[in-house]
């Protein structure tokens, strides 16, 4: 718990870690594709889940957008919001649903200010979640591109 709060108080460090992990994973794609993505997932997911659980209380949505949400897992918001805070935030900045918890988005916003690489991504409009990916490895989904497949109507064709 204290590890989590310590690491989360260093958003810039986290975003660099994120960037590094992303590059390594994408760079190793030839290896993953030879290994087979399914087998890769079996190998990697226990590590991914553990690391993300420890650091972010990851909910394993399978389509990680941590870098766009101030390195704060938006799925820990009881309303699963992915586009910013709701209007129910309490006067002390705590959550409408869990009064003992600081609003996930108040934290996300504060952290994003300390994130020169990805901080601006808070303004990206996040698409509806693909619930089919829940419980799968977001890292593997990133390599295969599954995590950014949009519903056909949502895509910008113009």
């Amino acid at each position: 718990m204290s590890f989590r709060s310590w690491i989360q108080d260093h958003p810039h460090l986290l975003e660099r870690l994120y960037q590094f992990t992303e590059r390594v994973f994408l760079g190793l794609d030839p290896l993953w594709s030879r290994l087979g993505y399914q087998r890769t997932e079996q190998l990697i997911q226990p590590i991914e889940d553990l690391a993300k659980k420890l650091m972010f209380d990851c909910q394993i949505c399978g389509q990680c957008i941590l870098h766009s949400t101030g390195m704060t897992c938006s799925m820990t918001c009881p309303k699963n919001l992915r586009n910013g805070p709701c209007g129910g935030v309490r006067a002390n900045g705590h959550c409408e649903v869990k009064p003992e918890m600081k609003c996930v988005w108040v934290e996300a916003y504060e952290r994003s200010l300390d994130m020169p690489i990805y901080g601006q991504e808070m303004m990206v409009i996040q698409p509806p979640l693909n619930w089919e990916l829940q419980g799968t490895s977001a890292w593997v989904n990133m390599v295969t591109g599954e995590d950014i497949k949009l519903p056909a109507g949502w895509r910008d064709d113009e």
Partner: protein, 345 residues
């Protein structure tokens, strides 16, 4: 967005829906919307009674969608009743109770019933409602809902990409709460909602005008007031105790200490009157703020009081109503449907 700088009502692109609310706003007039609190009844008369009072003083009437997580008659049904009688409803959709499949169906169904305004909300949580054991859905959030409705209206398709035969012509709204943290993010979130398709905004109750002014300053600096119509949420406080209840128990409502103290200093029997006065003063203050396009008046099950406030704030008369006839009873409602059917034949 195509802006026409010379018009007072600058958020001016082509008509989205041609709704009465949209026409009032685009004409540059100060708009008024009011909240209709859905009955706990299967009798449509309760809806018509409330609407009769509000329609005379408001340009459009919001039908809430189980606000606070409390179950009442559904918003879609109320809107359908209202359009049948010639009223102008704003359908509220909260993401709490329905997933994307149900919501897209409701948008089409509502548009088919003549609904032209839709307010897209994330929604209060179930935990403060009358059935906190319920499963919360939140498949979408307000911004994804807005974008979904925009896709249906502008691209003529469902999220899946499947084509619609007829697009829903709707004027899309969203909420904004400038009074809660993170304050600096609130104008950014507004910007995000505009990008997702919001044509108008109805804010949370404003009981802190200085905070709201700060918010509007940021909104103007970002030029957002030229891209969206902002209606400020207002409402009367019934008593000092009521104010205290609202600010401690109702999610997202912030009431300044100054206002609570003012009510506390007033003798009990005069507190309701004082609450009304405060509301009128707030209306007059926010009206002066550049970029404010109207007010949204809310008072839980006190439609008469809402009418009084709008009258006494000097906001009448409203642009003329086009109500064909107002059924006074369920029989009257049936009679009207029969007449409509005859006309259509």
């Amino acid at each position: 967005m195509n802006e026409q700088p010379n018009q007072t009502s600058s958020p001016s692109v082509e008509m989205r829906s041609g709704s009465r609310l949209e026409r009032v706003l685009r004409s540059g007039r100060f708009a008024i919307t009011a909240e209709l609190n859905p009955p706990d009844s299967a009798d449509p008369q309760a809806v018509y009674d409330a609407a009769l009072v509000l329609a005379e003083v408001a340009d459009a009437v919001n039908a809430t969608d189980a606000s606070g997580g409390n179950v009442h008659m559904s918003s879609v049904a109320i809107c359908a009743l209202l359009t049948r009688a010639g009223y102008e409803p704003v359908l509220q959709i909260a993401c709490r109770d329905r997933n994307r499949i149900a919501i897209q169906g409701d948008i089409l169904g509502a548009a088919a019933m003549g609904v032209k305004n839709i307010l897209c909300l994330t929604g209060d949580d179930v935990s403060n409602g009358d059935q906190p054991q319920a499963k919360r859905v939140f498949d979408l959030d307000s911004i994804r809902l807005l974008r979904t409705a925009t896709i249906m209206r502008d691209k003529g398709m469902f999220l899946s990409g499947r084509k619609l035969e007829v697009k829903p012509r709707v004027f899309l709204g969203a909420a904004s709460n400038p009074f809660v943290q993170p304050y600096d993010w609130r104008p950014l979130r507004l910007e995000k909602k505009i990008k997702a398709g919001a044509d108008f905004i109805q804010t949370q109750y404003c009981y802190d005008v200085p905070r709201f002014k700060k918010f509007m300053q940021q909104v103007r600096d970002m030029g957002l007031h030229e891209q969206v119509f902002i209606l400020v949420g207002v409402g009367p406080l019934r008593s000092a105790r009521g104010a205290d209840f609202m600010r401690t128990r109702v999610p997202g409502v912030i009431i300044s200490d100054e206002i609570v103290e003012r009510l506390e200093k007033t003798p009990k029997e005069k507190q309701a009157e004082e609450g009304k006065q405060i509301c009128i003063e707030i209306i007059q203050q926010v009206r002066e703020i550049e970029g404010v396009a109207g007010v949204h008046v809310m008072a839980y099950r006190q439609e008469e009081l809402v009418a009084e406030i709008i009258r006494e704030a000097g906001l009448l008369p409203r642009p003329r109503l086009k109500v064909q006839s107002i059924p006074r009873s369920f029989e009257g409602e049936l009679e009207m449907l029969r007449r409509q059917a005859l006309v259509e034949e």
